[in-house]
Symmetry: C2
Subunit: 294 residues, 2 copies
């Protein structure tokens, strides 16, 4: 008896970042269901990552008309932020996961697979930032060190730079900036000093909530915001050129604020930028398929 | 019957920062005992602050030849980092403290009282940074917002800037710097990427452990370290000038790394700098005496 299409593996692809994760159920070469979950960066919070992934996958199964308990029949590909760091990677690999099989890799790898199908480069700028290229079987990974050590050009980095500039302005120890008003408005505060308490113990995703203010305020002519954008754009631009030097044929800008950097990049970089073909979670499906067939 | 000297109040003065706190027992106008405790910044860790203060005060009493249980006979003045922020201040004021009476104020206020006896200005650069002036009954407080939002020129700020620069150098996305080697040596690591895990969840005091590297490496000619020192010194210099503008007759540089900034300050600032007369914990005794007599 020949194998019917319906007896093929059910694949689940997951793209997990600091703020949220997205899962797709993939049967017979098509997305059949989608699900969303909370932050899934095991470097930031291992248990939350596991919960968010499980929730998003169960939601995607239900969306596909299947039962949540079908997780045990699924081959899962997980592309997660933070697994470039050895400890969190080992901890995720040790997970007593609910799937039939689980294949774990970095979120940049799966995003790159989704965007280009094969060789290419990715810059993700969302809560964090990171660069990745896959060329002729070799990987280059740059950045992705987390907040506040790295992640230049990310939402959290922008948020921190905005707060620092606003507080220097408040103290009259830096140039006056309307970023002060942006922070007050965004956090619904009356006095900027209350922003210190507002941010106490908050994760990087809370800093990233401020990010849009740098772009808006820069466009309105604020020189302090323009300087922040300039520094962030220079980093994204340099990162792009490093990925090009590595031999990547094309680059996709991924993540929540990726499109916001485009107007600030050099022509050389813009000529190298293409729209992604598929979403990162589909790249995670491709990865699971590659690995499961090995 | 006239009051004998020995029936005068026993005063305890406490200077509390992010890394440690120091207590002195003050009887008949003299230091009779000293004690040390852990970090005592209630914004960073409220319970640890209470424990550190209690421990340091008990140690100071024992050092003075008294019993630890004598705390209940002492009038305490506490000058603590972090109480410029309303929440931590309220939480400390609500402490069911072990003293006869407790008077709480910022560590800058007590440091200023100790340094000048009266009007003057202080810049504290230790784990954190902050500026304070007391002139004709008016206070000016600048900075002190904590890491990583503020605290420019502090040990923790230096440590973060060192790590950021070292990681950019590692990725070849920033200029090459021997700060890479400094971090490896200081943390006894073989690969700089391991510094990410090393720092995970660490308090600002761990970042401050790296601070000396910026000065040493800058002196050895490293341009990246020189740039970090330049930015930090510009902040400390601007802070000094703001305190002078406010009318302070003199400025003392306090805190673990205060003396390291002096070679980088302008002549105008250096002409304004004096050595502190007394330590901050003696200033905390003065504060308790002022308040208890009211």
């Amino acid at each position: 008896m020949s194998e019917t299409k319906s007896s093929e593996n059910i694949y689940i692809g997951v793209d997990g970042g600091g703020t949220k994760c997205k899962a797709v159920v993939w049967i017979d070469g098509e997305i059949k269901g989608e699900g969303l979950g909370g932050g899934a960066n095991p470097y930031q919070n291992l248990e939350r990552a596991k919960d968010s992934i499980t929730n998003a996958c169960q939601m995607a199964l239900v969306d596909a008309g299947l039962k949540a308990t079908h997780l045990r029949d699924c081959v899962a590909g997980l592309g997660l932020a933070g697994v470039n760091i050895p400890g969190p990677k080992k901890a995720m690999e040790a997970w007593d996961h609910p799937f039939k099989a689980m294949y774990l890799t970095g979120d940049l790898h799966t995003a790159c697979l989704g965007a280009h199908g094969g060789d290419g480069a990715i810059i993700v700028t969302g809560t964090g930032s990171c660069g990745f290229a896959h060329v002729e079987g070799k990987d280059l990974m740059l950045g992705g060190y987390g907040f506040p050590l790295g992640d230049q050009g990310s939402g959290a980095w922008l948020g921190l730079e905005i707060l620092k500039a606003a507080l220097l302005s408040y103290d009259q120890l830096g140039p006056k900036t309307s970023l002060e008003e942006w922070v007050l408005e965004k956090y619904e505060l009356n006095d900027l000093i209350d922003s210190i308490e507002h941010m106490a113990g908050k994760p990087s995703s809370e800093f990233a909530q401020l990010a849009l203010g740098a772009f808006n305020t820069a466009k309105a002519g604020d020189e302090v915001a323009q300087k922040i954008i300039e520094v962030g754009a220079a980093y994204v631009n340099d990162l792009s050129l490093k990925l090009k030097e590595f031999g990547a044929p094309a680059l996709s800008m991924i993540g929540g604020i990726g499109f916001l950097w485009k107007p600030y990049l050099s022509q050389e970089v813009l000529d190298f930028v293409v729209e992604p073909k598929e979403q990162p979670e589909v790249g995670a499906v491709y990865y699971a398929q590659q690995m499961h067939k090995k």
